[in-house]
């Protein structure tokens, strides 16, 4: 389905680094590293949100899907985790239209993007190609 699956380097950048690095502006003196802390919180909060999406789809509950996807969309957008946020938005839209049909495919895609985002967050921005 995804033709670029075997060529990871050509996948679109998982993180909008401008957004994430922009957050350093709000770093307070004498405080722990803000970006690191936000990333840590994101990694802690995203898995239960993804689990909530999965549970909503399994239960066929479109409203719960909409809410869970909305939360993930927001927390990922905060850090510039743009593809996860975009897939969250797609899932939210699905929930809003009152159905969970086709949501599992989007969820699978979202889980892959989430894993890729985590790697990228750990590795930092790609160097020039």
């Amino acid at each position: 389905m995804m033709e670029n699956e075997n060529q990871p380097d050509e996948l679109p950048e998982a993180i909008d680094w401008a957004v994430l690095n922009g957050l350093r502006e709000f770093q307070a003196e004498d405080e722990p590293d803000l970006v690191q802390e936000l990333v840590g919180l994101f990694k802690r909060e995203a898995p239960p949100q993804i689990e909530a999406i999965r549970a909503a789809i399994t239960a066929g509950d479109a409203e719960r899907l909409r809410k869970a996807a909305h939360s993930l969309k927001g927390s990922s957008a905060n850090l510039g985790v743009r593809l996860v946020s975009a897939l969250g938005a797609d899932l939210e839209q699905k929930g809003r239209s009152g159905t969970v049909e086709g949501a599992d495919a989007l969820l699978a895609q979202l889980e892959r993007e989430y894993a890729r985002a985590c790697q990228a967050l750990d590795a930092g921005p790609r160097g020039p190609a």
């Binding site: 709000f26 939360s71 927001g74 927390s75 957008a77 905060n78």
Partner: protein
Amino acid sequence: MSLLIVDDSAGSRLLLSSILKAAGYKELVTAESAQGAFERLGLNGPATGPSDVNLILMDISMPDMDGIEACCRIKADARLQDIPIIMVTASTETEDLQLAFTAGAMDYITKPPNKVELLARVRSALELKHEMDRRKEVTQQLQESNLRLEEALASLDEKHRQLLEEQAKSERLLLNILPQPIAERLKQSEGVIADNFPDVTVLFADIVDFTKLSARVPPADVVAMLNDVFSKFDQLAEKHGLEKIKTIGDAYMVVGGLPTPRPDHAEAVADMALDMRGAVAGRLRATGSLLTVRIGIHTGPVIAGVIGTKKFIYDLWGDTVNIASRMESLGAPAGIQVTAATYERLRDRYLFERRGTVQVKGKGEMVTYQLVGRK
């Protein structure tokens, strides 16, 4: 004075706090649920003073109670409803925003928060809050001074009422002493009042053998008896529309035809005399013997008015007064002696007996008549 951030995501709370802190907002508190926000605000708690929270940033999408519902609850609380609420949402769906504004939110920002937008909206919300607080204070001050004014007015009303009451009381007293038109003229500060009345009828009455009576009966009993009789006379004077002038010892003086002239003054005084005689008839003196009055009447011109500066009395002067007094003092016990002048006025309608002539000091001989009744 603090800002309250309500969001179930620790990451979102940290991010918003960091942006605001970097912009200089030091007093930040956070809550991870609507319930936590209510606790922080003291909603549903015991009534405390106004909240120290100046602004709320509220995530729309939270488990349990969402931001819309929480906003409604806060806006429904009289102590909290002035706190501006800015909704924080990852959604830009019109219907979500519509819900937020309907719930009473003042503004919204989207996730990820844009620093410039966030700070601008926070600043304008705080300015609004500040202005609302100031107006509330001014309104309260106005209400307080209004209240004080109302109290002052009420007390003034009460004083005015008391003054009117006092005025009415002195008016009643004055009218007890002076005829109303005379009282009015005195109030207009006319100096001396002395009016000519060319045609009035004057009556004197006294108790026969009063001097002897006073010598035998305790003074208190004498006064009680006089009071009894003269009170009855006062009622009769009022009934006949006559002006009581005064009492002098055991004598009673009344006049018809002034201060408001009337053509039938002689008749009114004659009726009064007959009624006075009737009123004492049958009354016993304190000694057990019957009480009798002697009455004298004369018709002619008088001067009436108030003179002097103290203890005002509306009094009469002139020959007519002296002659009326003589008619009484020279009259027979229980008799009503009138002069020819009065007799001429009344002869057609009243019964008289001719008494012959009496010697009047300063006047010589005068023909007099005894009034005995109506025809």
